[in-house]
Amino acid sequence: MTALRRHRALTKIWASESGWRRWFSTVNHSDLGLMFMCVSVFHFLVAGVLAMLIRAQLASPRSAFMGADVYNQVFTMHGTLMMFLFAIPMFEGLTIYLLPKLLGSRDLAFPRLTAYGFWCYVFGGSMLIFALIAGIAPDSGWFMYPPLSSTLGSPGINPDFWLIGITFVEISAISAAVEIVVTVLRYRAPGMTLAKMPIYAWYALITAMMILTGFPPLILGSILLELERAFGLPFFQVAEGGDSLLWQHLFWLFGHPEVYIIFLPAAGVISTILPVMARTTLLGYGWIVAAAASLGVLSFGLWVHHMFTTGIPHLSLAFFSAASTLVAVPTAVQIFAWIGTLTKGRPELHMPLRWILAFFATFVIGGLTGVMVAVVPFDWQAHDTHFIVAHLHYVLVGGFVFPMLAALYYWLPHITGRKQFFRLGETAFWLVTLGFHVTFLAMHWVGLLGQRRRTETYDPGQGWEAINLISSIGGFVMAIGFALVIVDVVVNAAVAIRGRRNPWRAGTMEWAMPTPAPAYNFASLMPVDSREPLHADSSLPLRMARGEGYLGEARNGLRETLAVAISTGRPEYLVILPGNTMLPISMAFVTGFFFLGLLIKVYWLVPLAAVGVIALALRWVWGLGSRQDQGPQEVGRGLSLPPVSEVADPPGWWGMLFLLLADATLFGSLLFGYAFLWTVAPNWPPPAWMQPDPALLAIAAAAVLGPLGLRLAQGALARGRGLGAGLGLAALGLIAALLAAGLVLLHLPAPQTHAYDATVWVLMGYSLVHCGVGLLMTGQMAARRVAGFLSPARRGELRIVQLWVDYATLTALLSLAAAVLPGVLS
């Protein structure tokens, strides 16, 4: 088969649908990555307009441009859109687009999940944009501190849009994170060991792990605050044993890692682009991996540095102050490695390098002011002033937006297949960078002079007028610069001439394909044993196109790719990926009704939507797998591999494992919140503790039948026997856990009574949901066994269900123990 015929045959299999249906049914990672990025840029533009409104308001004292009510909505939405609807989705979009290409694979691990995450992001973001247009946008600041955001401070619907909309959007972040982790670990080019991975893959892996462990505390906080607002569960009400500081802990447990979740992908972009621009290799690859991983973990020990002024004991402040200074070290390791890379190469000043140099100047200043505010006495002075606003913009714009602009100019020829022709981008560069520094250097100054943030106006005569005016002028110059960037990109994408492949002479795999990228990425999957495969073998693109790698034949109309061993990159099994489908958008739409019902308080819609989601999820899973054993399949180059349905650890098992990691973080955050309220909050103990009841304990003990039953079912399946006994026992165990949680709820006072009752109520609700889902999954296993999807060779999906049931049972028992523990101790 010629390369052209192969291209046509593979395109027929992998292409998205034509016409308008393409946008709704595509599961292709290139399409979805670009769609993610376009929507995130739309949110960036809206948030940028809001920023200009803020600067217009503050340009002069006693401005009548906006009243306090509108100003509150504007600055809240500016921060919310930038953090949740631009920065994180931009990372997701870029990574979804790039990752399989960098790794030498044909697509991500779970293409339908990518699409589902995208539509959740679109629908959740639409809720917030609607609120903004309707004038009922969140107005309590982007971190929504209660009591300002509780019904006492905000009785309207405004904060509900934030709490529900952002939780909806975070489904996309968790989906993308699971997707990225499993893809990096299992979907690489044959032979690509961990140590040979492109550096961006390390950053993506670390960032995704941080999303899985960083977002759940915020999801939990949002659920608790919404439960308080909607039903009066007093998690943050001091009179009933709650504490508003609990929100701050949960928020910043997410919020500080969030800063690094935003910075690390940008650092990955720099580590990828900088060596290419400097015509050399990256200095200190291993050190950079270690530094990025250090940042990823250390960032979880810093959250209290946002709470230095809340009256926490000095010793606790010292822990977090020390950790905050510590985090500068791995950041500096990366900066020095990048500077070393520049000095050992012969840098060429193209647009991507310009933006990276702007990053250096800006981010280093932001990092240094970060060390300043890590020092507790200084923070007490600067807290809640414009100095902090300036610091965070230096970190986030310098540390994320500028590297993303470098990425845009670097990968634009890959996306469009055209070469940069017009030079508008250089003018835009100077406008943005000069405008930025004028705006925010001035803001440091006015902050040190005492101007508070989140205040819509100020009186003249305090020495702030000229500085604010200069800051506003700088802001508008920067905005003009960003507008020019967009014009430059659109014009270049639309009318510039066709460019040649690999215009930067880079060594990474994404440049081994024609541009724009074909739907299948690579015509065949070549073995890779270098971090820069194109430099190691310049004939690689040609040999791939000729089908000399694995899976070089388009066969049976199936979307085939390979999964590899985690460390060694040895090919392990053949994966068949799903085709175009409307299922993800349908499921996201129905999920939207679940959240909409909560938002507009039409509660009958909520269970209805939940049933719809369950039905679609069952439909989603039913189509997976195979009804017959196929045995090893020929994958080319003389190798035969088992199909994904016949392995013990299919990608779904890994996906479930990392999903449960996020779930366990949410559960751990709930236990942390419980311990915090119990030990720190005033007005404890509650009127009554729950007492351990022997009957309840006996029922709870029966919950262990769940995991036991599934293990019996596993053994029976391996021997080719019936699963009825094992699955029946598992169902009994799960019903026992459901019963135990239900009994606790029946005997508990109303959850509005005290924060203890509210917490136990949530713990039991958590158990009910997890054990209920476990029961559904067990039932589905029985149905799939009858339908012929399970056999001694095909038992991977039973192991997936086993993971869930083990987790559900463990957390149900822990929840019960946590509920009765104070009663036992008292």
Binding site: L194, A195, A290, V297, G301, A322, I566, S567, T679
Partner: protein
């Protein structure tokens, strides 16, 4: 998978120690236990933590537990050294500052 564990365990241990000492300190202050026993408990956790981190660093440098890939070996040892330093530095205030 073992390489991932080599890379991730030392700093995860630091995170666990950090949470443990922070939680222990909060509990001690909440229960009014501010005496020598409280200080000794915090110091003991700190000491055990430092010893564990040191053991981890030595293990990852050894041929038996260290990674085969030079890059992974370098990164895992660097991460273990970072975790040891982080444990000493970020939790050291538990030994010297007033408790509550």
């Amino acid at each position: 998978m073992r390489d991932l564990l080599r890379l991730s365990v030392p700093l995860t241990l630091w995170l666990a120690l950090f949470s443990l000492i922070y939680g222990l300190h909060a509990t001690l202050c909440a229960t009014g236990a501010e005496g020598a026993l409280a200080r000794a408990m915090l110091a003991a956790v700190w000491g055990i933590g430092v010893a564990l981190q040191l053991g981890m660093l030595l293990a990852l440098r050894s041929p038996r537990f260290g990674a085969l890939s030079p890059t992974i070996r370098q990164a895992s040892v660097a991460l273990a050294a970072t975790a040891l330093f982080a444990t000493v530095w970020s939790l050291f205030p538990a030994l010297i500052l007033p408790l509550c």
